[in-house]
Amino acid sequence: METKRILTEYVEKEIMRRQGGVVSEEMDLLSNGILNSLSLLQLISFVERTFDRQIPVEEIVYENFHSVSAMANYLAGNGSTS
C-alpha cells in the first residue's frame, strides 16, 4: 500500500502537476497521455532512487511500468522481462 501511495503521489504531483486529475491504481499512464518519453525516464529514475533499486534495462518494459499497480507489483518482485 505504501509503495502505491508513494508512486501515486509522485505521478500526481510531479508528472500531472496537480492538474486536478486523480490517478487510479490501474489507470494506464501511457494511453491516458500522462507519461511521455521524458516523464517515463523521470519516473523510473525516481523509482530507482526512492526504492534503492537499480532496474535492469530488460525489466524496463510496458508490463512493469504502465500503471501504479504494475509498478508496485514489479517492485514486490513479480515483474516481467523483455
Binding site: M16, R17, R18, Q19, G20, L30, S31, N32, G33, L35, N36, S37, L38, S39, L40, L41, Q42, I44, S45, E48, I55, P56, V57, E58, I60, V61, Y62, E63, F65, H66, S82
Partner: protein, 371 residues
C-alpha cells in the same frame, strides 16, 4: 541506463538552445556588426576569427541534440507499445500528438500575434504552411517532424520486430540520401528531380531523420543488446566522435567556401550524422562517467518540451533587445553567448515556474502549454 538517457536529453535541450544562441551570435557578428564597429553591415570580415570558429565549433558539438531527442522518442514508443499488436498503440499515439500539438499551436499563435503587432502579414495559406512545416520559429520544425514519426510508429515498431536489420539499413539509406541532397543544394548543384526531392526533404519532413527514430525503436526493443553494444565499443565511439568534431568544422568551412555565398546557416551533413551517432553511443557506453551539473541537467530534461517551445521566441526578443540596449555586448562572442544562454534557458524555466506556481490561475493548463 535510464539516468543516462535522461542526462542525454538534458544535454540535448542545452544543445538545442545553444544551436539558436550561436545562430544569433553569427547574426551579431555579420549583420549587426555596425552596432559595435565603424563598418557597414553586413560585413563578413570576422569570418575566420577565433570568435567565428568558437561559434562554428559549438554548433558542430551540439549536432547530436535533435538525433538524441528522436532516439529517445523512438525508445519510448518501443517501450510503450510493448507487446501490443499493430494498431493497439493508437490511443497512446493520439494522446502524445495532442500534448505536442496543442502547446505547439498555442505558442505558434503567440508568435503570429507578436509578428502581426510588428506589421508582419501572411495569407491564411501562408500561416497554414508555416504551421505544417514548423517554420513559425527556427526551432519549431521539430514538432511536425515528431508528429509524423509518431504516426509512422506502429509500422516502424512492427518492422523493427520482424525485420530489425532491414529497417535500420533502409532508414539509414533514406536519411543519408537526404543528407546527400543537402550537399547538392548547398553547393548549388541540385537540378531537376534533385530540386523536387529537396523541396520534399525539409528539416520538418521525416525522411531526413528516419534513422534516429528507428534506431531508438530498435534499441528500445532490445535494450540489453543496445547497452552491450554501447559499452563494448565505447572507446572507439568516443575516439570517433572526438576526431569527427573538428573534421565537421573543416567540412562545413569547405562547403561554405565552395557555395558561392558569403554565409549559410549550418546544416546537418553526412559527417555530422556519423558524429551524432558516435556521440550518442559513446555517451550511453560510458554510463558510469560523471557529467558535470548532472542534477540540473536531469531537471532540465524533464522540462524539455516547454524549454524547446519557449526558448526560440525568448531568444528572438532577447537578442533584438540587446541590439538596442547593449550593442557593445554584440561584439563579445563569449559574453553574448552566456547572456543568450541565460535567456534561452532562464526565460522558459521562469515562465514554466510561474504557470506551475501553487496559486497560478492557469496551473491546470500547464500540460497544454508545455506538453
Amino acid at each position: 541506463m535510464v539516468r543516462r538517457l535522461l542526462l542525454l536529453n538534458g544535454l540535448a535541450v542545452l544543445g538545442a538552445v545553444l544551436n539558436h544562441t550561436t545562430g544569433w551570435g553569427f547574426t551579431a557578428m555579420f549583420w549587426w556588426v555596425h552596432r559595435y564597429l565603424p563598418v557597414e553591415a553586413p560585413n563578413f570580415e570576422q569570418m575566420g576569427s577565433l570568435g567565428y570558429y568558437t561559434l562554428l565549433g559549438l554548433q558542430q558539438a551540439i549536432m547530436f541534440s535533435v538525433p538524441a531527442f528522436l532516439f529517445v522518442s523512438g525508445y519510448f514508443i518501443a517501450f510503450a507499445t510493448g507487446r501490443q499488436k499493430l494498431g493497439g498503440s493508437w490511443p497512446l499515439i493520439r494522446s502524445r500528438i495532442v500534448y505536442l500539438l496543442v502547446p505547439y499551436l498555442l505558442w505558434s499563435l503567440l508568435v503570429f500575434i507578436a509578428g502581426f503587432a510588428e506589421g508582419e502579414r501572411e495569407t491564411l495559406s501562408g500561416y497554414l504552411s508555416l504551421l505544417v512545416t514548423g517554420r513559425t520559429t527556427p526551432a519549431y520544425y521539430f514538432i511536425p517532424l515528431l508528429i509524423q514519426l509518431y504516426l509512422l510508429s506502429p509500422l516502424l515498431v512492427a518492422l523493427a520486430k520482424r525485420y530489425t536489420g532491414a529497417l535500420l539499413v533502409v532508414a539509414l539509406v533514406i536519411q543519408l540520401g537526404v543528407r546527400t541532397l543537402v550537399y547538392l543544394d548547398t553547393l548549388g548543384l541540385a537540378l531537376g528531380p534533385a530540386e523536387l526531392l529537396l523541396a520534399l526533404t525539409g528539416s520538418w519532413f521525416f525522411p531526413g531523420h528516419l534513422f534516429w527514430f528507428s534506431a531508438g525503436v530498435v534499441a528500445g526493443q532490445n535494450p540489453a543488446l543496445f547497452q552491450q553494444l554501447a559499452v563494448r565499443g565505447r572507446k572507439l565511439f568516443l575516439a570517433g566522435a572526438i576526431v569527427l568534431l573538428p573534421l565537421g568544422v573543416v567540412e562545413w568551412q569547405l562547403i561554405l567556401n565552395n557555395a558561392g555565398q558569403p554565409w549559410l546557416p549550418i546544416r546537418e551533413t553526412l559527417l555530422d550524422s556519423l558524429y551524432a551517432a558516435l556521440f550518442i553511443l559513446a555517451f550511453m557506453g560510458f554510463e558510469q562517467a560523471t557529467v558535470p551539473l548532472a542534477q540540473p541537467l536531469e531537471k532540465l530534461a524533464g522540462k524539455a518540451f516547454g524549454v524547446y517551445l519557449v526558448h526560440s521566441p525568448a531568444l528572438e526578443f532577447g537578442a533584438r533587445g540587446l541590439y538596442f540596449v547593449a550593442p557593445w555586448l554584440l561584439g563579445n562572442v563569449w559574453l553574448l553567448q552566456a547572456v543568450l544562454l541565460a535567456i534561452g534557458i532562464g526565460v522558459p524555466v521562469l515562465v514554466m515556474g510561474a504557470v506551475d506556481f501553487n496559486r497560478s490561475p492557469v496551473r491546470r493548463s500547464y500540460r497544454y502549454l508545455f506538453g
